[in-house]
């Protein structure tokens, strides 16, 4: 590790060979645990000395093996994730923690479990609402995760170790936000494409290594003279998963992507876990309430007799208001990976919300394949022409 590259160069290496570090750690006797989605409480894995590794899809790999199990008109991200697993690209994994973040993921994870043979496999039944009863239920689900993780590792998950892990992961969230501060200037100091690479490197590394890498990147970006050029618009992208540089490059060809509101972007890092006397409850609160994925039901007026659309929009999308202002956003692209129903159904309301903020927006659906990005380019350029 002494002669390794640093900062963005290291990020580029990890991005093009994601599993390399996990394989090295595996060879050193570490146990690597895969997870498909940012809702899995990584702190619990870290605290037990396990290495979390996000099992992402691969847009450049045509789906073939997953066709055995999943229909074509099904979430292409989950199809791709499963396809990679069935092609043994994750053969270094010792286990998986999966979660009911959406139905395609829940169904896919069951197929995944039955087609693979990892020593450990756990499924978290995550509620879809932010109501207090749901929080209690989710906390108990994390209790079940603790139980199976302890049985798998033969170790007790102590409060001290868990709190230390929460501190490390909170530090990562702070550092990511610090890096995102550097997209605030015009031109941004770091491009949306580079940002995607950094964030994808983080989900491929143990948390402390990720934190060191982030520290290097922040210092490098702050001190470098070369950086992105100023372009015609400052875009916010809202999507389920946006973690491939080929897609971001299409978006960034004629604009600066300064905010990536997706699970490949800032979504998992915006808030921080708040410490309480019960760390599992702290984690449940963070993952259920603070991560703003479309899969969670947040209607403000539930159970009330009077409907209030503006208040409802605020409860669902209010976190974007400050972003639009602070990052000086002048266009929003609502990017839907085909067949993603939870995100598709949010689009009309989100466009209303952006309109209320005075931000022009467009809704673009695309196929999760890099071979089919030409229609995306046309739509993005046409949108930029309408706001230019």
């Amino acid at each position: 590790m002494t002669d390794r590259s640093t900062g963005l160069a290291r990020v580029g290496e990890i991005y093009s060979n994601r599993s390399q570090r996990a394989r090295e750690l595996k060879a050193q006797g570490k146990k690597i645990i895969g997870y498909p989605c940012v809702y899995v409480p990584l702190e619990m894995l870290t605290a037990l000395g396990l290495v979390p590794y996000q099992t992402c899809g691969d847009m450049k790999e045509p789906v073939t093996e997953a066709d055995r199990a999943l229909p074509g008109s099904f979430c292409p991200v989950m199809r791709s994730c499963l396809d990679c697993a069935l092609k043994n690209k994750n053969n270094f994994l010792d286990g998986m923690v999966t979660i009911h973040s959406c139905d395609p993921q829940e169904k896919t994870c069951r197929v995944w479990e039955s087609y693979t043979n990892y020593p450990y496999f756990h499924f978290i039944d995550m509620p879809i609402s932010v109501r207090p009863e749901a929080l209690e239920y989710f906390r108990n689900q994390l209790g079940d995760l603790k139980k199976t993780l302890e049985a798998f590792t033969g170790k007790k998950l102590s409060v001290d170790a868990l709190e230390a892990a929460i501190k490390s992961h909170n530090r990562q969230r702070t550092l990511v936000k610090e890096l995102y501060e550097l997209t605030k200037p015009s031109p941004p100091r770091i491009s949306g494409t580079e940002m995607v690479q950094v964030l994808k490197a983080l989900v491929s590394l143990p948390v402390e290594e990720g934190n060191d890498l982030l520290t290097e990147c922040i210092s490098e970006v702050k001190n470098r003279t070369a950086g992105p050029q100023k372009k015609a618009a400052r875009l916010l992208i809202w999507s389920s998963t946006l973690d491939d540089t080929d897609v971001v490059q299409v978006l960034e060809d004629k604009a600066n992507v300064v905010m990536n509101e997706s699970c490949g972007g800032i979504r998992a890092y915006r808030a921080a876990v708040k410490f309480t006397s019960d760390p599992l409850k702290s984690l449940a609160d963070y993952y259920l309430n603070e991560i703003t994925c479309a899969r969670t039901f947040r209607q403000a007026t539930l159970g009330e007799t009077k409907k209030d659309y503006a208040r409802d929009l605020q409860s669902r999308f209010g976190y974007l208001k400050g972003v639009v202002k602070q990052w000086n956003i002048n266009g929003a692209i609502l990017l839907l990976v085909r067949y993603c129903d939870p995100f598709a159904f949010e689009m009309p309301s989100l466009r209303d919300y952006f309109e209320s903020l005075g931000v022009p927006s467009t809704y673009i659906e695309y196929n999760y394949t890099v071979g089919a990005l030409a229609p995306l380019r046309t739509r993005v350029e046409a949108f930029l022409e309408t706001i230019g």
Binding site: T378, E381, E385, T386
Partner: protein, 297 residues
Amino acid sequence: MRQSVSGNPPAGALYFAGIDIGSTMTKVVLTDEHSNLLAVVKGPTGPEHRRLANEVMRQALEHAGLSIGDISYIVATGYGRLNVPFADRQITELSCHARGVSSLFPKVRTAIDIGGQDAKCMRIANGRLVDFVMNDRCAAGTGRFLEVTAATLGIKLEDMGAMSLRATRRIKISSMCTIFAQQEVVALLSQGEQPENVLAGLHDALASRVAALARRLGIEPDVVLTGGVAKNIGMVKAMRQSLGVEVLVPEEPLITGALGAAILAKEAYARAAAAGETLPAKSRRLEEATFFSQEQP
């Protein structure tokens, strides 16, 4: 408006070009500084965009009696727009169609273009594109849907519309997938249904699909239909029924993208000139732009 230019162009005259490389057809429009049409050329796009872009441009220049160096500004559009080495600027077909249609129909608010591989609905205000939706998820809702059907039935594409108007009853085609719809067509024909009636059903199915897309934007008159499908009288009628409003069709519905590109070229040129920016060099050489050449002349 078409006029022929012979001999050398008058000194100081300005000429503009729009080239629209669609999935099926490549279109070129040459105009003078008053946006009078000097040449309109269409050709099948084929597999080699660059070579064809040169060829249609060469034909258009020949028709107008101009050389490539006489053109002040060239805008390329359509999905092959990146493959036009001699263009000064690329602008999406959405903005170009909106501009072209509104130059022909100043009161247009909604433009619908049904091409070979996609359908576009555009909201227009003050002659400009303000919002849009596109369908290209599959062949359903595009010109390809009719092409495939014509091949299945063994009839000419250009005869389909008129044939559909001779229907004695309108069949409902329930499948929107092009392949499944073809299966439905074959099944209907094998049950002895008249081809005219089946065609009427297919036109209705395509029109209702495009109308649903347009409703996502909201349909405000005047509505203008363009693209190759607008040449099909059966489709125009079916669109009128599906949308419930009058649908206007330009005399030449294939060229609105290229026309808009030529108008936007003129406007870009005027803006650049007014701002004192460097104008495109007139020394561009058409011949050197080959299919394999990566360099910009």
